[in-house]
Symmetry: C2
Subunit: 338 residues, 2 copies
């Protein structure tokens, strides 16, 4: 049984996309619920998802435990796992970690580009690591079973989270900086530490994270994965497409500027190319995961390795991560009563 | 196996009271989370409970399904089920029904004394029944598995809820008005409809609901239950003590006036006796449920009937009520993965 799991998407969700998830055989996907939303706005986003779950029960349902991956496969649906790209959703209140976990939040980034109450984002000039509250919140996330995601954090903060967290953490969507030195891509120090601690790296298909951007070839992308596997192993590698399908450019503007500035911030874009970049031609949407798997095989990965990268590693990580500290992986895999 | 379940308490919770719950052998209790709180304040109250669950895991845990009653018994603890005495917690947002159910809210009163967005409270001069939103919210509560509680509602609204709800409803804490004509006590029309529809009536020990108030005797109280059982049957009867142990009088003031008036409202009290009335001498706290059971036996109830009234009926009602519509009682009884 090999699962297909995507480590991050933030699409403009619709029946069309849910049907594409099914057509592509995606068993589970970690979806972004929050960019800059506060707690109440986050709950409003959950309510929106609840309407989709109620409207398309044959296509999707909310995932809470790793057992929901198998349940999705068994019932021909896609399990949707919530995550936040920004700790804005917990505001200044550590108690909201447990509340949001109960509502299904399974990943939370400690920062989104900027300094947060918890840590430093990758666009700040100075990175001071985890704050006092950051250390407390990481411990609470560890206790409860919410994954620390450092995809948009600075180097020092990321290494500090790796060190401080008692449970494996994730970079759900980024690539090696050595391959493409974007500010969002990760150093070998970070990738090596993830490999050694049971963490996960989800390779991103967002063009700003790719060498040659939208023109990056499938062979080049898969070769980058192969080189990462050669250096650090295959056991911690997955896919985190960062697919933002059908989003208008106003959404990438919201991602970048939220409410923190009145000015324009182009983030990874530029004045000449401020909008969403076009996805690589070989990955248009959820129906194209087979193309990536083919590319990995062509690069020399074995069938077992391809299965691990395309979902097996995420499935194991979900099982180890979503339950309370001290629970066995088996207990954590139990499905919650719906 | 006979369970001991209390249909409503709102005490000033402390380790002392949690230990009294254990000393009294209380398997499950429906606790009030909300009097006038909005959604965010309700979540803050849940956070407070989460701290208590974390601090005293040997005494209490949060109940989500009826199976948690058996789990409480098996592990020597008390399962705490949340409820709201006021729909203020869902504000004007029907989507919050599902969100709060996910957080464990299992009961919600459509009104607390006054007109709400959903229905009319028992202290209003005119009762117009369910509002437009009220009908929608009752349907959503039915779909999700949240119990409609009409303890503080007006007569017409209560009968309308009984009629409109497709699942049994509850009066978690009130007595027959025929016995003691308090505005909060219920007519035979309401009690009869509860009996016929699989609903529940929790007999209250709050002195303002008792004949002779704090001086009401155990025999008088149990005789009232016996007369109710003779008329309507035993199958829908339980206890809902309305115990407000160790609460300062400022809390009963908050219950009565919330933020809806700047004036003083004495509710069931009076200018001469504005505070909490003293509980009857034979029911000081959770250690005295055995006294009630003894009183019921002395009144002539059989052992089976006493067990049903002291918790068996609530247990069956919980099993039928807390899961999504259309789930069998067995599926609903499954414990959620913690």
């Amino acid at each position: 049984m090999s699962y297909l799991i995507d480590g991050l998407q933030y699409s403009n969700w619709s029946e069309e996309i849910f049907r594409q998830l099914r057509a592509g055989g995606v068993d589970a996907v970690h979806v972004t619920l929050v960019y800059h939303e506060n707690f109440r706005e986050t709950v409003a986003n959950i309510e929106r998802w609840n309407r989709w779950f109620e409207r398309w029960p044959d296509l999707i349902f909310q995932g809470f435990t790793a057992a929901d991956i198998a349940h999705a496969r068994a019932t021909g649906r896609t399990a949707i796992f919530f995550g936040s790209q920004n700790p804005s959703c917990i505001e200044d209140d550590i108690g909201l970690v447990e509340v949001l976990h109960r509502l299904g939040l399974r990943f939370m980034q400690l920062t989104y580009n900027n300094q947060s109450l918890l840590a430093t984002g990758c666009y700040e000039a100075e990175d001071t690591g985890l704050t006092r509250m950051g250390r407390e919140v990481v411990a609470e996330m560890n206790r409860i079973g919410m994954v620390v995601d450092m995809s948009h954090s600075g180097e020092r903060s990321t290494l500090a989270a790796l060190d401080h967290s008692t449970r494996p953490i994730a970079i759900t969507h980024a690539n090696p900086a050595l391959w493409h030195p974007a500010r969002r891509n990760k150093s070998d120090a970070v990738i090596g530490a993830l490999a050694q601690t049971g963490g996960m790296l989800g390779f991103s298909l967002y063009p700003h994270h790719l060498k040659d951007g939208s023109a990056c070839s499938l062979a080049e992308f898969c070769s980058m994965i192969a080189r990462t596997a050669e250096r650090f192993g295959t056991h911690f590698l997955g896919i985190g497409t960062d697919l933002c399908q059908n989003q208008p450019d106003s959404v990438v503007e919201w991602m970048r500027t939220g409410r923190w500035t009145k000015a324009v911030d182009y983030g990874e874009g530029s004045k000449d190319a401020p909008g969403f970049p076009a996805m690589p031609a070989w990955f248009r949407d959820n129906r194209d995961f087979g193309t990536i798997a083919d590319g990995l095989r062509a690069t020399g990965f074995s069938g077992t390795e391809v299965a691990a990268i395309m979902g097996g590693n995420w499935a194991r990580f979900f099982a180890a991560s979503f339950g309370a500290a001290g629970q066995g992986a088996e207990a954590q895999g139990k499905r919650a009563a719906e």
